[in-house]
């Protein structure tokens, strides 16, 4: 995974709360077996509407999404993160993220910064006053900057460290392999086993 330190990109104000993962990527796009190429699927249903924000210039080139609270609720589909990433988004700012979505984003290098409702409103107003304006996401200092406006965002420290270092989770865990083996050795015999199959 690439290291994430700071990034500056076109901001998109998505004035909606409860953006669930079925809206981020409808289920019909989940049939693919690849991990890339989901850019066409992002907000596929909403994008049929010419008025939708991502159909407007200059938001078509969006890279930082500023959304209402409860972003990413619903299904565990990591495809939602892949679709945002493939479209070009590097970060999402919202007052509240669904847990699974936030976890998935952290694995794929998509920054999820938690901001206050008040700062969400300020950012929306600032972006709409100056469409095409870029937001700088500074992961080192946990600050999003848009012109004169600076808002701090929260992100869990471990994810932040991993993103800054560009580290792979499985590799990190395998450093504890001896502990895993030791744990396995003391599990009771009656714990469930799928093999051999019993009917």
């Amino acid at each position: 995974m690439d290291k994430f330190l700071t990034f500056s990109g076109v901001a998109v104000p998505l004035r909606r709360s409860n953006v669930d993962t079925d809206q981020i990527i409808p289920a019909v796009y989940l049939k693919r077996i690849t991990k890339t190429g989901f850019d066409d699927a992002l907000f596929a249903s909403w994008r049929n509407d010419p008025e939708f924000i991502l159909n407007q210039e200059p938001y078509q080139h969006g890279e930082v999404l500023v959304a209402g609270p409860d972003f990413g609720t619903g299904s565990s589909r990591e495809h939602a993160v892949w679709a945002l990433r493939d479209y070009g988004f590097k970060a999402v700012l919202s007052a509240k993220f669904a847990d699974i979505f936030r976890g998935n984003a952290g694995k794929q290098g998509l920054v999820t910064g938690e901001i206050s409702d008040e700062d969400t409103e300020k950012l929306w107003a600032a972006i709409e006053a100056n469409p095409g304006v870029k937001i700088e996401i500074d992961l080192i200092n946990k600050v999003a900057t848009l012109g004169d406006l600076s808002v701090s965002f929260a992100i869990d420290e471990y994810t932040r460290w991993r993103l800054i270092e560009g580290l792979d989770d499985i590799g990190l865990t395998l450093r504890d392999e001896a502990a895993i083996t030791a744990f396995e050795a003391k599990r009771p015999a009656w714990m469930p086993k799928t093999i051999p199959a019993r009917h």
Binding site: K31, D99, D176, M191, R198
Partner: protein, 472 residues
């Protein structure tokens, strides 16, 4: 050992700790059971191949086909080429990595969250994960069960562990006795309406109280299933005699001396007296009505006896805006009686409500009745085994005589990844778990209901409770 009183969730967490996280790093937890299906796994297996890794514990892993599978003509090749590719990828991956798989046509095939408990693989006190948010279902046994993303699926395949940050705990206390016609589905819809779709975020919920203790295992599964719709990472019910009774004799349940040891351990799991929760919610079961949703998220629900709410009645401006948008999408006018809403389709199925008790409850209402002319009804059992059992009990004949379509097992119209979809603008009463825009088909409108309300609605053609049938 410490004598500090602990909650059920904390006990299961502590008993699975492989390595304690230091300096803000998450804890590493062992995973006892990993369930796999075709939609969220192909990219995980690809990741293993790319890194030259194997599956650490195939004996703790099991796969089934559910999201994409057709519910008619299952003996023929899958018509949709992309669905077929995904199913074939799962079969290929299971073979290559030595994982047990139950494919379409197999008696153990079905919705992954119906299959695990049915086989006796889901047990109290274990950790369960699956690349599916409704993994919370398994918490009904007192297991810590979480939905995960594809990167985490790959992580569990490779290491049989997951790095997890500790959760907060929330007690959902439901005291009293449910009235006739009110079910577990109504409890959970009422809970979500009360705390909101983000209310459980960061929490593991524990459902407690006399109303929960009185529920069957299948009803407890319905409740835990929808914990994710309140934003929670997991939902749990402490194991008790009802749990043990359900498990005993199942294919993979412990036997003999092992059974005795297991029960002895399971009895230590319930939350200790004096343990504290980070948050508590109270719900009165005595006064609960059948609950239905009017909007486009599962928190937008009301009593079936109520009316479509006025968006301005919500204090939070975000909720007002969301309600306005939802009513526009749902084509509903504030003040309309919920019972005056006419539906086109009734769907009885999904990991929320497709087990044998759900089918029995609906069949008991439909027996000897005729379907409303304008309604289409789909009955999709949760697994091939549930389907077989229903047929042995003659339930299939009741559904067919009523005019419903009796289908093969799978996720089906809950998310419409197979051909079972609603047409644009169509309205459904659905026993599933999500009423999101477009969930059951592009432009489709969903009202979440219990199996009893689904059945009564199929008879009357408008959202109805069984009690409404007697008034005719």
């Amino acid at each position: 050992m410490t004598n500090q009183p602990l909650t059920l969730a904390e006990k299961v967490w502590n008993d699975h700790l492989v390595a304690k996280g230091e300096n803000g790093a998450p804890d590493l937890l062992f995973i006892d059971l990993h369930l796999i299906h075709e939609v969220t796994s192909p990219q995980a297996f690809d990741g293993l191949r790319l890194a030259g890794r194997s599956v650490r514990r195939p004996d703790l892993t099991i796969a089934t086909e559910d999201h994409n599978t057709p519910t008619i003509d299952i003996d023929k090749p899958i018509a949709d080429p992309t669905s077929r590719t995904q199913i074939e990828a799962l079969r290929h991956n299971a073979k290559e990595f030595g994982i047990r798989i139950h494919s379409l046509g197999d008696i153990e095939q079905g919705i992954v969250h119906v299959v695990g408990p049915q086989l006796g693989l889901t047990m109290p006190g274990i950790t369960v994960v699956c690349g599916d948010s409704h993994t919370s279902t398994h918490g009904a046994f007192g297991a810590l069960a979480m939905g995960i993303g594809t990167s985490e699926v790959e992580h569990v395949l490779a290491t049989q562990t997951l790095p997890l940050t500790p959760f907060k705990t929330m007690a959902i206390n439901v005291e009293g006795t449910l009235r006739t016609g009110v079910t577990a589905k109504d409890i959970i819809l009422a809970v979500i309406a009360k705390i909101g779709t983000g209310g459980g975020q960061g929490y593991v919920l524990e459902y407690r109280g006399s109303a929960i203790r009185a529920l069957s295992m299948e009803a407890r599964m319905t409740i835990c299933n929808m914990s994710i719709e309140a934003g929670a990472r997991a939902g749990m019910v402490a194991p008790d005699e009802i749990t043990f009774e359900y498990l005993k004799g199942r294919a993979h349940a412990p036997e003999g001396v092992d059974w005795e040891s297991a029960v002895e351990y399971w009895q230590t799991l319930p939350t200790d007296d004096g343990a504290t929760f980070d948050a508590e919610v109270f719900l009165d079961a005595n006064t609960l009505d059948p609950f239905v949703t009017w909007g486009t998220n599962p928190g937008q629900g009301v009593s079936l006896n109520d009316v479509v709410p006025e968006p301005s009645s919500f204090a939070d401006p975000n909720e007002t805006a969301a309600a306005q948008r939802a009513l526009e999408y749902m084509d509903l006018v504030p003040g309309t009686k919920m019972k005056d809403i006419k539906v086109d389709t009734v769907f009885l199925g999904s990991c929320t409500n497709s087990r044998i008790e759900d089918l029995r409850a609906a069949a008991a209402i439909l027996e000897g009745k005729k379907k409303s002319d304008h309604v289409r009804m789909l009955v999709v059992p949760g697994s091939a085994r549930v389907r077989l059992q229903a047929e042995q009990e003659g339930l299939d004949q009741i559904f067919k005589d009523f005019g419903a379509e009796w289908r093969f097992a799978g996720c089906s119209m809950c998310l419409g990844m197979n051909p079972d979809q609603l047409a644009p603008g169509e309205r459904a009463a659905s026993t599933s778990n999500r009423n999101f825009e477009g969930r059951q088909g592009k432009g489709a409108r969903t009202h979440l209901v219990s199996p009893l309300v689904a059945a009564a609605t199929a008879i009357r053609g408008t959202l109805s409770a069984p009690a409404d049938l007697e008034e005719n």
